[in-house]
Symmetry: C2
Subunit: 98 residues, 2 copies
C-alpha cells in the first residue's frame, strides 16, 4: 500500500454547513490556514498554506462543532478534489482541537 499521510495544524478559515451526500453520508468541508516556520536547505523558511479539507460520516458529524477561527490539528490523506479537478484536498481521518 502506497503511503499517503498528512498531519496539518492551523486555523479554520471557513467551514461549510454539514451536508448529506445523495447516498446518505454526512459531509463537512472546511478550509484550514496553516502558518509555521520550517527548516529547508539549511535555512528557516516561513510557510503558509490554505488547504481544503473534507470529513465524511461520523467524523463529519463530530466536526460539526468546529467554528471558523478554531485552531485544530487534522490527520488524513491527500486526494484529487474530484474527477474533474486535480486540486489536492485533504481527507480528514482524525482531528482534535489544538
Amino acid at each position: 500500500m502506497a503511503k499517503n499521510q498528512t498531519v496539518l495544524e492551523g486555523n479554520v478559515a471557513s467551514r461549510d454547513t454539514l451536508r448529506t451526500t445523495p447516498g446518505g453520508v454526512a459531509t463537512l468541508h472546511l478550509t484550514l490556514i496553516h502558518q509555521s516556520t520550517q527548516r529547508e536547505a539549511n535555512a528557516e523558511v516561513a510557510v503558509e498554506v490554505e488547504m481544503n479539507a473534507v470529513a465524511f460520516g461520523e467524523l463529519a458529524v463530530e466536526m460539526n462543532g468546529v467554528k471558523a477561527g478554531d485552531s485544530i490539528s487534522i490527520k488524513g490523506f491527500l486526494s484529487r478534489k474530484n474527477r474533474f479537478s486535480p486540486m489536492p484536498i485533504l481527507h480528514i481521518t482524525q482531528f482534535k482541537f489544538s
Copy 2:
C-alpha cells in the same frame, strides 16, 4: 510550532531539469502520482492524487538521479506555491526510492 508533515509515495510523472535560483540554490521540481486505497467513513475508497513537489539545495542535487517513472517515497511539508498562487505544493525534506 504548528505541525505540517506529509509522507507520500508514488510514481514520478514528470520532473523538471535541475535549476538554480537567482540566489544560487539548486532547485528540482517534480510531479508525483499517487494511487492507493484508503479507509474512510467505514469504507475502502480508491484514492488518486497528482502532487507538485519541490526540493532545494543538496537534496535537489541528490534527487537529480530521479527519473520519470521511478517509484519514490517523499517526506515534507505543504506550502502555497507562491505569493500569487494558493495551489498547495509539497516541499521535500527527505526522499527514498521505494
